[in-house]
Amino acid sequence: MGIDLPTTNYQSDLGQLTFERTAERTLLAERLGFDGALIVEQHGSPVGLFGNAMIGAAWLAGLTQDIKIAAVGPLMSAYSTPVRLAEEIAAVDNASGGRLIVGLPLGIGVQYHAMGVVNPSTARARYREANELLLKSLDSDEPFAWEGDHFNVPYVNLWPKPLQRPRPEIFVPAAGSRETLQLCARYRYVYQAVLVPRATLLRNAETFREACRQEGYESDPSQLALVIPVHVAETDAQARRELEPHLLWRFQNIFRFPFDQSFPPGHVSMNSLRGMMAGGYRSRGNDPGSMDYDELINRGWLIAGSPARVRQQLADTAGELGAGRIIIVTSDTMPSWLEQKWMTMFAEDVMPTFRPPGGRPTWDRERAPAYRTRSEFAARASKSPRPTALMDGRQVDVRTEYLGEELTSFPRT
């Protein structure tokens, strides 16, 4: 699979079904009590639905009421300036009632070929500057000029502001380059650990915690999110029967691009490339696409089994890594009815263990910044200036003018 696969291979009904299943899965996740639903952004290949994660997030936010929606994530460099992304973030955050989580990936190598216009050899520097401009746009209460190396924006004045202040939570999906982990630590982002061999994952987690210490604080487990396939069934054997073919399909087909597509020139530094080659990135031991189910389980590429086993494995894995969040990778080939089965069993038999008594998701425990009803809005409303207009030579209050001389002291916010 590559970014040059022609769309003569695309089947419209399957495409539509994939969107439909994404909606179904998200609504089910909400009803079952998952904390969030996450979508990705990919370009130029069948790997992802959304070429724009913010659009996907807006759609899902419109379909749901309470669950957090994570758009992981927009490629900042693809926007002509990150202020455009800030506008999208503010819009979706407001429209969703403050439920947005935003991811800021650098972008895997193939995206640079697929997008074409962002230079991989200057992408990291552009990303760093975009990150600072994005944060300032979201946070600033007055207009400012940005005069950088990569962006020159004379008037940055973001209206509206995001509902969550100072900003929605930001995840950075990363394979673990030191530079990215340092950035996560500095800005207090969530390091979203994409799946790499277990030993590397452990090293990365420790590197991240050390980077936080160097920034002067101890990281919270909620700052480390592990991405991993999870499956639960009545017994270990049943879980294997249900999952094995789908899992193998996934590891043998998804995100398997040829080297030259994955490493456009300048995408990695020479030191990183040298390190990768020394670490035997080509070796079979690090390639899940050539492993069988037992190897995948034993090497920690997934968690699967009975509820008891999954509870234990999750606790062990999360504990070992210091991860406070788990992002479950769903199986693209699994039929809807099987997906509903494992998700329901997971919600009833696994999730409560990892929650405070009562089993509520975060969005049902924490007080959201959004008001829920108009009466709450009225109670909270500050005394803002009332809109007036010049009418018949008088400056009139537009909201009460229709009452004419009957107006005495009608309370309006």
Partner: protein, 236 residues
Amino acid sequence: MTRRWLPFYDELAASRRVVVPEHPGFGDTPLPDRIDDFTDLVLHYADFANALGLEAFDLAGYGFGAWLAAEFAAFYPERLSSLVLIAPFGVRTPDTPAPEMFLRSARRSAADEFNGTAEHYGSYLVDGGEDETMLQDYAELSAMARVAWNPRYDRKLDHRLARVRCPSLILRPDEDRVVPAAQADRYAEILPNSRLQVLSSSSGPLGHAMIAQDPAGVAHAIGSFLDMPREGDSHL
């Protein structure tokens, strides 16, 4: 093909003084952060020529180097006695997409550049071990990407090369599997005082790696051109 004195350079040097700089980011030449477009590279080479005390000279370039030589010529036409472009790319060709330089596996690259005869050119392809070669190739491709990732042509050469009035020679191989013939053709169209020569070799088709496949033949074509009597109008 960097970090070594090629047989091709020897052929040229038999009868004239030859200087072969390696571009920033190629060979052992460092790539400063401040170099991120062609004007930076052009100024780099103006400084280089000044450092060598060269006011006017014949300029030749090969492949990416030919694009760079054309850019230099557009900005400093008065410094050139002649311009030679070997298997060039970098102009926008109306009916043919720009050659793909960045999305090619190493194996496919060698096959395409040498027209299937790459196994005879091991010394050109592997330098210091397979891993070290791969790292060096990646570094050099990254240096080219810095200035040529997007767009993959310079549409301004369409009008700027009209300034280059010195005699120009464009050489292309008869069977280039990397760069479409339309590129050399277009350069010949827009350079006002130019000739186009298509080279073949007695031992088979000549491909993009022409300076490796037939160093004597390519050097001879260049030598004949440089030895031709010049008309007076080689300055702006």
